[in-house]
């Protein structure tokens, strides 16, 4: 079984040199800590920045310089700023290579639900629907099971969708499931140490090819 850091490091292996990448809030932000040696990626922040740098040193925070999680950040020698319309034109137009997002549920047809639970206060989808619809490749980083033990990789999402048929890869603490193209079935790509196929199947609802 992978720790959260190991899960993020596994996701970081999907980064390719020259990729433009958008990382979602939460566990996906950890991926930035594990970018492989010799792989140069440029991080996009959908509030209007390409080339996101690390957090600032204490005392050097700039309120005019935040990421989409509203965290203070810094710029790099490659950074450019632009409006929200230009930022989502970049996303919607398919110019971002990869987005790594969290999810509450993923279905084996690639549907993803990560923005609302009916009956609870809904905070809004932010940029998640735009990202899953527009970015070339979508990787979901999530825990394999919900707190009640139910599988999060399902035959069908029960929660309202964020996007239909959009997920390319799921990385949980147990395994990597992926498919070569939208519309294709998911396959088991890799098992975490100490996990075997039966264990994985017992904790999974959605279909995948072994």
């Amino acid at each position: 079984m992978w720790t959260r850091d190991q899960q993020a490091a596994r996701a970081a292996k999907e980064l390719q040199d020259g990729f433009y990448v958008n990382l979602g809030i939460g566990m996906p932000t950890l991926v930035a800590n594990f970018i492989p040696e010799g792989v140069d990626v440029t991080l996009q922040s959908e509030n209007g920045m390409l080339g996101m740098g690390p957090f600032p040193f204490a005392g050097e925070e700039d309120p005019d310089l935040i990421n989409a999680g509203k965290q203070t950040i810094t710029e790099l020698d490659r950074t450019s700023y632009f409006s929200s319309a230009d930022s989502f034109a970049m996303i919607r137009g398919g110019h971002i290579d990869l987005s790594i997002l969290g999810a509450m549920e993923v279905a084996d047809n690639g549907d993803i639900a990560n923005w609302m639970i009916p009956g609870k206060m809904v905070k809004g989808m932010g940029g998640a629907m735009d990202l899953v619809a527009g970015v070339k490749k979508i990787i979901v980083l999530m825990e394999h099971n919900a707190k009640d033990g139910s599988a999060k990789f399902k035959t069908a999402c029960t929660l309202p969708l964020t996007g239909k048929g959009v997920v390319d890869m799921v990385i949980s603490e147990l395994a990597v499931l992926a498919r070569p193209a939208k519309g294709a079935p998911f396959r088991l790509i890799e098992l975490a140490p100490g996990i075997d196929l039966d264990m994985l199947k017992a904790r999974t609802e959605g279909h995948f090819e072994a």
Partner: protein
């Protein structure tokens, strides 16, 4: 030159406000919000507002101030997570809320300002966002895909925060405080702008201007910006 300069937020909003009006308010989170104009809207007491803004401020700051005074009847936003008073009013049915995906919201505002009444997008297809909207298939490089129709948005008044302006209303924004401000400047029937600094005409390199003055009707310099930070994240210096 027609004068665009006003002494302060109150003067800049004079004669523009009426109950039930639609206002676009720039900013992302608390970054790049028109602090002074929001406070002036609160002081003016105008009611029943529809506010188009990516977020809804926090308790006691930004648009949170207009929620406390119950001046907002409806919000059109993409994310409203940081505001307990918002949540209370919404759950009590006192506040209408229309969620838009953030990119759809940005593009709807850009379209409104550009005279485009509708455009098609893949964002939200197959989700709640698509319900009741026209669907249309287009041929793409990867085969036929389904898109939904989204409409342009305009406002009676847009309130915008820029970094610097010249007397012609040419604007320059700073870093990620640009966000929704440039599109909103184009989509207000009247656009009112607050800036940190007014520079003499001819100071800006014309290639560096983000918003041409044609979009700006009124302008003033704000003082003592609070610029609150929502998530102060820092890293440690390596020990020497």
């Amino acid at each position: 030159m027609a004068n665009k300069l006003y002494p302060d937020a109150k003067a800049a909003l004079e004669g523009l406000l009426f109950d039930g009006m639609t206002i676009m308010s720039g900013g992302f989170g608390l970054c790049g919000i028109p602090e002074k104009l929001i406070a002036a809207l609160r002081d003016a007491g105008v009611k029943g507002l529809t506010v188009i803004s990516n977020n809804a401020g926090v308790d006691g700051f930004g648009l949170g101030q207009l929620l406390e005074t119950r001046q907002i009847a409806k919000m059109i936003s993409s994310y409203v997570g940081e505001n307990k008073e918002f949540e209370r009013q919404y759950l009590a049915g006192e506040l209408q809320l229309e969620f838009n995906p953030q990119g759809t919201l940005a593009e709807r505002i850009r379209a409104g300002g550009a005279g485009i009444p509708g455009f098609y997008t893949k964002t939200g297809v197959g989700t709640l966002v698509a319900e009741g909207k026209e669907h249309k298939d287009f041929a793409t490089a990867s085969g036929t895909e389904t898109y939904i129709l989204e409409t342009g948005l305009i406002a009676d008044v847009s309130i915008v925060k820029a970094w610097k302006a010249d007397p012609y209303g040419n604007l320059i924004f700073r870093k990620t405080s640009r966000n929704f401000n440039p599109m909103m400047a184009t989509a207000g029937k009247v656009t009112v702008v607050e800036v940190e600094e007014l520079v003499p005409a001819g100071t800006f390199d014309p290639d560096h201007i983000h918003t041409p003055g044609v979009f700006v009707q009124r302008l003033f310099v704000g003082r003592d910006y609070e610029k609150r930070i929502e998530q102060r994240t820092v890293r440690q210096r390596e020990p020497a």
